[in-house]
Symmetry: C2
Subunit: 399 residues, 2 copies
């Protein structure tokens, strides 16, 4: 019998309990062992909840119970979640989590602590919700030198950009709509400013390099400056606008960024709509692979947590360490301004001649709503910003 | 030191050697152990090849060498490959393969034989080439009841259908083009008649159920009857035509088929073009996930084999059995004629009135090139074929 404790009975935590209970026969048969949730840690009471009796308020009940071999941390944040995770690992209990903030901040330390204590720390659900990506990075893609990762890693902003792509809607209206539907939070900053995607690409870039890429070091640009007219130009170009989190290894130097990109319609990420997420990975032998699915949502995310629970239970029985290459050595990121690519730029049509003069390599594509749009040849961001210094220009990177 | 033998130095086998040699430093570091190819079994000589000295002609050299812990079977077929795989497993050597025919025919027997001998049998590369799908089915999707799998599992036919979708090209011309490019074989039957996709969906359906779904039991229809006019109708409907291999569990009854389908443009599989493959999986908790990438090709397929080699090497060191639920119990498939769905049907325009009379629920959509096309409401295939009995009607299933 595998006995599991769930820390935090919020959206994901209650989903984990639901998946383990509702798919119990199937999970037990695949594990060759029965499985049950023995405790749920939460400060609140849940009167009337069918799992009311499993709720405990004191984490030590869980830590001191030798029957608990696997702990699911679905609390979020890097405070109590960090302390409880360390406590569990120190007791030799394996831990899995959906907590991207904690994984981004303390991943290598917690992986090392797990190894010291003969247990494991897994975090499949911390990136891409229900999409299998962390385990494939550690196993299926293990023979590969990963050249590049491009991801749509935030469902809220992808929903908003999808609505805007349907035409004529401005950012503020779409945000309000997303908030009413519960896709965006009252304070939407973490999503719309790209911070959520930034933490996730930091985790993926760390697994890509085997070292630590920190969120603070990544250039991050959100979607708040995107306007309806940008979609009109994108449409004219046969392109879509997506918030892309990317990490690229070029000649051994890593660059990483989160920023809106205009993708050509035949790029596999360009068709990823609504709240769906996708991660597009390029390996040196494999070429391109893509993983697509629900990047958030109670049961999808919970399913990823439970896949970790199952792997942890098997690893505990077999007494093995699961593969995860992530050392604390911090990667010095290359300045993104040196990356060479093509850009969409636009300015007020009255300024178009001045822009043409400054940017010799820019091709005019259209005039829409008093704005003139251009596509540049490949150039560095530094060259672009130097060329248009002092001008009122809006820029979106192409893929 | 992990010493590997590769059986068969053809396209995939030579790719496996190349991946292990070219990415050797990276693979060794991720394995915490060095790895080398010690033998290559092939009947041919390879004078001038840099691995000429590794080539042996007698399989017993490999079987009798206790240093060999992992064998890659990249020979194909179910004859010698079957005998050699059994011999290796009986010696406690783990085996991985790209050989869909062998896996489809003897998968559960070989998995059981590996377990009896304390080793493992893996086959990631047997479906979807370089796309991670078998390992995710066995691990990431382990908590899920899989409701449905839909896959574009054959690159040759997907290339041909993509070319036809660009308009005005007939099947025979596209086939010739694909043969000239080396995408289709001189004898293209296994691809164009759907047999290759059929073997692959049989493997996936087996993993989905944990029992054995046999290729012979699956309804299989190829792309040879698709004409340019079908794409003209599809275009009018905003749909694409893809060869879809599918398995569906409805109320505990499994149906499986390979057949062309007209997919709506917002279906994630509809944008999968050229030689790419994708597998779209629906779980009861997770919802929809999709895995996309190169379904064939030397290095992509080889990378999948090498990911198995790495997992087998680690499992051998840890002395563990890897999870794979696939028993020999044969699944009784439901008759596909009972599935309810919508259909595209067309007939000569002179026969359109007769068709309308026979199919009350059919909506006329267009007349193109002397053909009249219709879309039906949901109905069973049996109802459709009964209604149009004796008429010259072409039918394509919708998604």
């Amino acid at each position: 019998m595998i006995k599991v404790a769930v820390l935090g009975y919020g959206t994901v935590g209650s989903g984990v309990v639901e998946v383990i209970q509702d798919n119990n026969a199937l999970i037990s048969s695949r594990l060759d062992d029965s499985i049950e949730v023995k405790y749920i840690l939460d400060l609140r009471e849940f009167p009337g909840d069918k799992n009311e009796k499993l709720v405990v308020h004191d984490v030590n009940v869980i830590m001191d119970d030798p029957e608990i071999s696997v702990v699911c941390e679905t609390m979020g944040g890097a405070g109590a979640a960090y302390e409880f995770t360390k406590a569990a690992l120190n007791k030799g209990k394996s831990v899995c989590t959906s907590n991207k903030e904690l994984v981004e901040k303390h991943g290598p330390e917690l992986i090392a602590l797990a190894r010291e204590n003969g247990c494991n720390y897994l975090f499949e659900a911390s990136v891409g919700g229900g999409i299998p990506i962390i385990r494939p990075m550690n196993t299926s893609l293990a023979p590969e030198h990963i050249d590049r990762i491009m991801g749509i890693l935030n469902g809220t902003t992808n929903y908003m950009l999808t609505r805007m792509s349907e035409g004529g809607v401005e950012y503020d209206d779409v945000l309000k709509d997303a908030q009413e539907l519960g896709y965006a939070e009252r304070n939407p900053e973490a999503d719309v400013e790209g911070h959520d995607a930034g933490r996730k690409i930091a985790i993926l870039a760390s697994l890509m390099t085997g070292k630590t890429v920190r969120y603070e070091d990544i250039y991050i640009e959100g979607i708040t400056k995107i306007e309806a007219v940008d979609f009109a130009f994108a449409d004219r170009l046969g392109r879509s606008i997506k918030l892309i989190a990317s990490a690229q290894d070029k000649d051994g130097e890593l660059s990483a960024m989160v920023a809106p990109r205009m993708l050509s319609k035949d790029h596999p990420l360009s068709g990823v709509s609504d709240v769906f997420n996708a991660i597009y990975v390029t390996g040196n032998m494999l070429g391109d692979v893509m993983f697509y699915g629900k990047g958030a949502g109670k049961l999808a995310t919970a399913s990823a947590v439970v896949s970790d629970v199952m792997e942890l239970a098997k690893a505990a029985r077999d007494k093995v360490t699961l593969p995860c290459r992530w050392s604390a050595e911090r990667v010095q990121l290359k300045d993104c301004s040196d990356n060479r690519l093509s850009f969409f730029v636009r300015t007020a049509s009255g300024e178009a001649d001045r822009l043409k003069g400054a940017l010799k390599n820019a091709r005019e594509i259209a005039q829409i709503d008093g704005q003139t749009g251009f596509i540049t040849d490949e150039m560095s961001e530094r060259e672009l910003s130097d060329a248009v210094k002092g001008m009122d220009v809006r820029m979106i990177r192409l893929d």
